[in-house]
C-alpha cells in the first residue's frame, strides 16, 4: 500500500484513493483530536464557569455552548453527506460512500443533542419541554431523515447497493428537507407568538458570551471531523481486512 502514497498530490481527487486517504488522515487525525479537545475544553469551561449569568435567563443560558454548536453540526453533517453522496454517484469513489455512512450516526447524535439540550433549556425558558416552533420542528424532521437514512444502510447487505440507494435517498431527501423547512416556517407563522426568545442576530449577544461560544462551535466542528475520520478509517480497515482474508483463502 505504500508507494503511491508517497507521490505528490496532483489533484484533490487523489484523496479519494483509500491508500492516500489512510496515510493522510492518519497523519492529521492526532492534530484534529488535540485541537478539538483544546477548543472544547477551553470553550466549555470558559462558557460554564467564567461568564456572568444572563439577567433574564440566569445560569440556564450556559446550555447554549452545547446547544448551538450541536445544532449547527447536525445541519452541516447532512450537507456533508449530500456532497459525499454526489461524489459517490458521479465519480464512484469508495471513500466518499464510507464517509457519508460514517457521518450519518454522528449527525444523528448531534441532532439528538440539539433536541435534548433545547428541551432542557425550553423547560425554564418557555415553561414547556417542547414547542412547535418552526426551527425546532424542522430539526425533528431532520432527525427523521437521519433515521430513515440509517435504517436503509442497516437493511441492505450488499455494500454497493447500499451505497447507491442511500445516496439516491440522501439527494432526494435533501430536496424534501429544504422543502419541509419552508413548509414548517409557513405552517407555524401565524400561530406562534413572536415573543419566543431569540438571539439569532449577533448584535443580541455580548462578547462575553460570544468568544466561548465561537470556541465551542469550533470544537464541535473539529469533533465532527475527527469522528467522521475515525469512522471512515475503521470502515476502510474493516473492508480491507475482509478483502485480504478473502484473497488469502482464495489462494
Amino acid at each position: 500500500m505504500s508507494d503511491h502514497s508517497l507521490r505528490p498530490v496532483s489533484s484533490l481527487w487523489e484523496f479519494a484513493n483509500p491508500v492516500r486517504f489512510m496515510a493522510l488522515s492518519g497523519k492529521i487525525l492526532p492534530f484534529v483530536w488535540v485541537a478539538c479537545v483544546a477548543c472544547l475544553g477551553v470553550g466549555l469551561v470558559w462558557g460554564f464557569f467564567f461568564t456572568p449569568d444572563d439577567y433574564r435567563q440566569g445560569s440556564t443560558v450556559k446550555i447554549i455552548y452545547l446547544h448551538v454548536p450541536s445544532a449547527l453540526m447536525a445541519i452541516n453533517a447532512w450537507f456533508m453527506m449530500l456532497v459525499a453522496s454526489l461524489i459517490w454517484l458521479i465519480r464512484r469513489h469508495h471513500v466518499s460512500a464510507l464517509a457519508a455512512r460514517a457521518a450519518a450516526p454522528v449527525g444523528a447524535t448531534m441532532t439528538v443533542i440539539a433536541l435534548f439540550t433545547g428541551a432542557v433549556w425550553g423547560q425554564p425558558m418557555w415553561g414547556t419541554w417542547w414547542e412547535w416552533d418552526p426551527r425546532l420542528t424542522s430539526f425533528l424532521v431532520l432527525f427523521l431523515f437521519y433515521l430513515g437514512y440509517l435504517a436503509l444502510w442497516a437493511a441492505i447487505e450488499d455494500a454497493d447497493t447500499a451505497a447507491d440507494l442511500t445516496s439516491v435517498l440522501c439527494i432526494v431527501g435533501s430536496v424534501f428537507a429544504v422543502l419541509s423547512r419552508y413548509a414548517v416556517v409557513f405552517w407555524n407563522q401565524g400561530l406562534h407568538q413572536g415573543a419566543t426568545f431569540s438571539m439569532d442576530k449577533e448584535e443580541n449577544i455580548s462578547n462575553v458570551f460570544w468568544y466561548p461560544a465561537v470556541l465551542s462551535m469550533l470544537g464541535f466542528g473539529l469533533l465532527f471531523v475527527a469522528l467522521v475520520l475515525v469512522g471512515t478509517r475503521t470502515e476502510i480497515r474493516l473492508r480491507r481486512t475482509r478483502a485480504l482474508m478473502a484473497r488469502a483463502s482464495a489462494e
Partner: protein
C-alpha cells in the same frame, strides 16, 4: 447472434466464473451445465442485462432477448389467458392464440385463475409466455422443473420449432431435454470461491 467474449461474473461480491467466451448462432441452442451453485442463474441474469458483467463483453442485437427465471412472474388473480395477453401486449405482440394454448396444453385451463394451477401447470404457463412475446434469443433457467415427461416433450418440440425458425436459446438445465445442442460445461471456468466473501466494494480498499 449472441457473442460473449471473456466474460466474468460475480454474485453477492463473490467472483464465480471467468474467461467465458462463446457464441450462439441463429438456429442453435447452448446448454449450460454445472453443479448447483456454480453460477448458471447468475450467468443468465447477466446475459439478460439484469446485472452488469464483472469483465468482458456481451454482444447481442437490441430487443431480441427474453429471460425466463426460476420464478414465473405469474399473477395468481389473473386467468391463464389474461396473464399471457399481458405479456404479449408489453412486448407489443398480438394476443395469445388457441394454437399456443394447445401447444402448452393449457386450453382447458384458459379461464382458470393462475393461483389455482398445480406446480407443473404454472410452469407450462410460464413457458407459454415465451411463445407470445416473439423474441429470438431465449434465456431459460431450468425450464423443465416440475414438468412431467409429456410436458417436457411438448416443450422440447416448441424449442425445436423455435430454433428451426431461426431463433436461438441458452438453457440452464440438469436434465436431458432430448434434442441436439452444444453443451457448455461451466466447471472449467469456475473460480475457487473464497470462503470469506469480499465484495467489489471491499476490493477497492486493497
Amino acid at each position: 447472434m449472441m457473442r460473449v467474449s471473456d466474460l466474468a461474473i460475480v454474485r453477492g461480491g463473490v467472483p464465480l466464473l471467468a474467461g467465458l467466451s462463446f457464441a450462439v448462432e441463429p438456429g442453435s441452442a447452448l446448454i449450460l451445465r454445472g453443479p448447483n451453485g456454480i453460477g448458471k442463474t447468475t450467468l443468465l441474469r447477466t446475459l439478460a442485462g439484469l446485472q452488469p458483467p464483472a469483465a468482458g463483453q456481451i454482444e447481442v442485437p437490441e430487443d431480441s432477448v427474453a429471460y425466463a427465471s426460476h420464478a414465473d412472474g405469474i399473477k395468481g388473480q389473473l386467468s391463464v389467458v389474461e396473464n399471457l395477453n399481458f405479456w404479449a401486449r408489453v412486448y407489443g405482440m398480438a394476443d395469445v392464440t388457441d394454437a399456443v394454448l394447445e401447444r402448452f396444453a393449457l386450453q382447458d385451463l384458459r379461464a382458470r385463475a393462475a393461483a389455482t394451477l398445480s406446480a407443473g401447470q404454472k410452469r407450462r404457463l410460464g413457458l407459454a409466455r415465451l411463445a407470445v412475446i416473439g423474441r429470438k434469443i431465449l434465456l431459460l433457467d431450468e425450464p423443465t422443473v416440475s414438468l412431467d415427461t409429456a410436458s417436457v416433450g411438448r416443450f422440447a418440440s416448441f424449442l425445436q420449432d423455435h430454433l428451426d425458425a431461426g431463433g436461438s436459446a441458452v438453457i440452464a438445465t440438469h436434465i436431458d431435454l432430448g434434442f441436439t445442442a452444444t453443451v457448455l460445461e461451466l466447471a472449467p471456468y469456475k473460480l475457487d470461491a473464497p470462503a470469506l466473501t469480499a465484495s467489489d466494494f471491499d476490493e477497492a480498499f486493497l
